[in-house]
């Protein structure tokens, strides 16, 4: 056996493997489409794929959808920001412990179990059909998850501080700057990335119950009037925006900011 061709053979095998993976992935992604195709042939109300795809250009270029898309994006971003602030505050208090730490822990535990439907219905009562209601629902549902992720970050930063701070005798501001903050950044990213998708799903629900604008409301209206093609189009737009921003914006920026860390962080994902 000669040795150099072997390595190329090996490379070949690897390339083949990755092509196979890609092909299988494409097949997997095609499965929902296939189910849709079957649905359109066996039932009367599932529209044919072709019809929906042909409708996409008109739908996307129409003036009419973008205000609703934008208002939903605004709501997601805004309530996520609120959830982040609330989550930070809650995590900080929980981390400090004591009576108030335990009290906040109670609240976080309670909030984790609140169904978004109930939150949305309550918001309708309290805020009527106002914008505030949507922000309230989304941030109240997502903040406990943010709090728990950040709490985990604070705890592990603590461990680091104990290990390093004592050895190198850092002052408190130094500790914060060189250990605590860099350590919290990845956890903040994790919280944002996880809760981003969550927020999108909650916002749709809140819009469905509580307001007349936004993608969720439009989606529901399409269904109420039995305009299935429109509903499908809204779903497709929704998934493209959600997955697109997640994989093209959030993930790469996280990688960029965190590239100094090498491999992934422990305990998350």
């Amino acid at each position: 056996m000669t040795r150099s061709p072997e390595t190329t053979q090996n490379l070949g095998a690897r390339l083949r493997a990755s092509w196979l993976d890609l092909a299988l992935g494409a097949l997997g992604a095609g499965l929902p489409v296939f189910l849709w195709w079957i649905g359109s042939h066996t039932t009367t109300f599932v529209p044919p794929i072709g019809e929906v795809i042909r409708a996409i250009p008109d739908f996307v270029t129409g003036e009419d959808i973008w205000p609703d898309v934008l208002v939903t994006i605004e709501r997601v971003a805004g309530s996520l920001a609120i959830a982040l602030i609330l989550g930070f505050a809650a995590a900080y208090v929980m981390h400090r412990g004591g009576l108030w730490g335990r009290v906040v822990d109670r609240y976080v535990g309670l909030m984790l179990g609140v169904p978004s439907t109930i939150a949305a219905l309550l918001a309708l009562y309290v805020f009527k059909r106002s914008e505030v209601g949507v922000y309230f629902v989304v941030s109240i549902i997502t903040f406990p998850f943010v709090a728990l992720t950040l709490l985990q970050g604070l705890r592990s930063a603590d461990r680091r501080l104990d290990e390093m701070g004592d050895v190198y005798r850092l002052s408190t501001p130094q500790r914060l700057r060189h250990v605590a903050v860099p350590h919290l950044v990845p956890y903040t990213f994790a919280a944002v990335r996880n809760e981003y998708a969550h927020a999108w799903k909650v916002v749709v629900l809140a819009e469905l119950f509580a307001v007349n604008s936004g993608m969720g409301a439009r989606f529901a209206r399409a269904f109420d009037r039995f305009r299935i093609v429109d509903a499908m189009l809204w779903l497709i737009i929704f998934m493209i925006i959600l997955l697109g921003t997640e994989y093209l914006l959030l993930l790469p920026s996280e990688r960029r900011v965190l590239r100094w860390r090498g491999s992934g962080m422990e305990g998350n994902r």
């Binding site: 056996m1 040795r3 072997e6 390595t7 090996n10 490379l11 690897r14």
Partner: protein, 266 residues
């Protein structure tokens, strides 16, 4: 056996974990049936990797490994030679007791149900760990765990035993008792043992042949026959003399020659 001279046959072995940096490169060696072979090499040179490849858990980039004429590796059928492996780390199931850990591999090796318990007792006794029979591995010391791992490897009474520094975590006195027992056990059986160690004297005491590897990526540097008759004594002056010779012999090759200063040679 037709292959007795080359029962374990390693040819042009290349192993790499990431596909780029080699851990073992162009290594060839043969171990005869029933032989006790020791492997010496500097730390990180690829000794464990060699055992991994022989056991079939790591796929070589290229080259061949056969045991009793059968290729090892993926798809190692039931008819291939059974192997006992004392890994460098114990690799016990933490959620199973000592006895259960051994029982699991005994059952997998097809030992009849009635024989399982007596076998476990026998080997625990031999390694002086009977009293830990029903303890969980995480509650044992490093050396105790290592002995459980040895008991597990020997209990299936395999044709080939691979041992990766099995006694390195034991106190010297216990280690000596264990070495003596291993030597006795091997003489009574016809097992083929490949034994990785950092202790030259241990290799000399136990082995019929010592394979010395180069710095990583490992190639075969030299093979040394140990002709001291058995039973051997650990303190035998002949072993001391051989030990000094081997140290002298590898000094250059392992990167500590006169010209290379303190830095290992590239």
């Amino acid at each position: 056996m037709t292959h007795s001279g080359e029962y374990i046959r390693v040819r042009d072995l290349d192993v790499s974990y990431d596909g780029i940096t080699p851990a073992v490169s162009a290594l060839s060696m043969d171990v005869a049936e029933g032989e006790f072979a020791a492997v010496l090499g500097p730390s990180g040179c690829g000794k464990s990797t060699l055992l991994h490849a022989i056991s079939g858990v790591v796929q070589p980039q290229s080259g061949t490994i056969e045991i009793a004429g059968l290729p090892v590796g993926a798809g190692r059928g039931d008819d291939s030679v059974p192997i006992g492996y004392v890994f460098q780390e114990h690799r016990l199931l933490p959620w199973r007791t000592v006895a259960q850990n051994i029982a699991i591999v005994l059952r997998a090796a097809g030992v009849a149900d009635d024989d399982v318990d007596p076998r476990i007792d026998h080997y625990l006794e031999m390694l002086h760990i009977s009293k830990f029979r029903n303890t969980w591995p995480l509650r044992l010391s490093g050396g105790q765990r290592q002995r459980v791992s040895i008991a597990r490897a020997l209990a299936i009474q395999p044709a080939v035993v691979l041992m990766d520094e099995p006694f390195s975590t034991l106190d010297e006195v216990t280690a000596r008792v264990m070495r003596q027992q291993l030597a006795d056990l091997w003489q009574r059986s016809n097992q083929t043992i490949v034994f990785v160690t950092h202790s030259i004297r241990e290799a000399l005491f136990l082995a019929g042949r010592i394979f010395i590897l180069t710095q990583g990526p490992a190639r075969l540097f030299d093979t040394i026959e140990v002709s001291v008759p058995r039973p051997r004594r650990y303190e035998d002056p002949r072993l001391t003399e051989l030990e000094a010779q081997i140290v002298e012999h590898v000094m250059d090759e392992w990167g500590y020659g006169a010209n290379s200063g303190e830095e290992p040679r590239e």
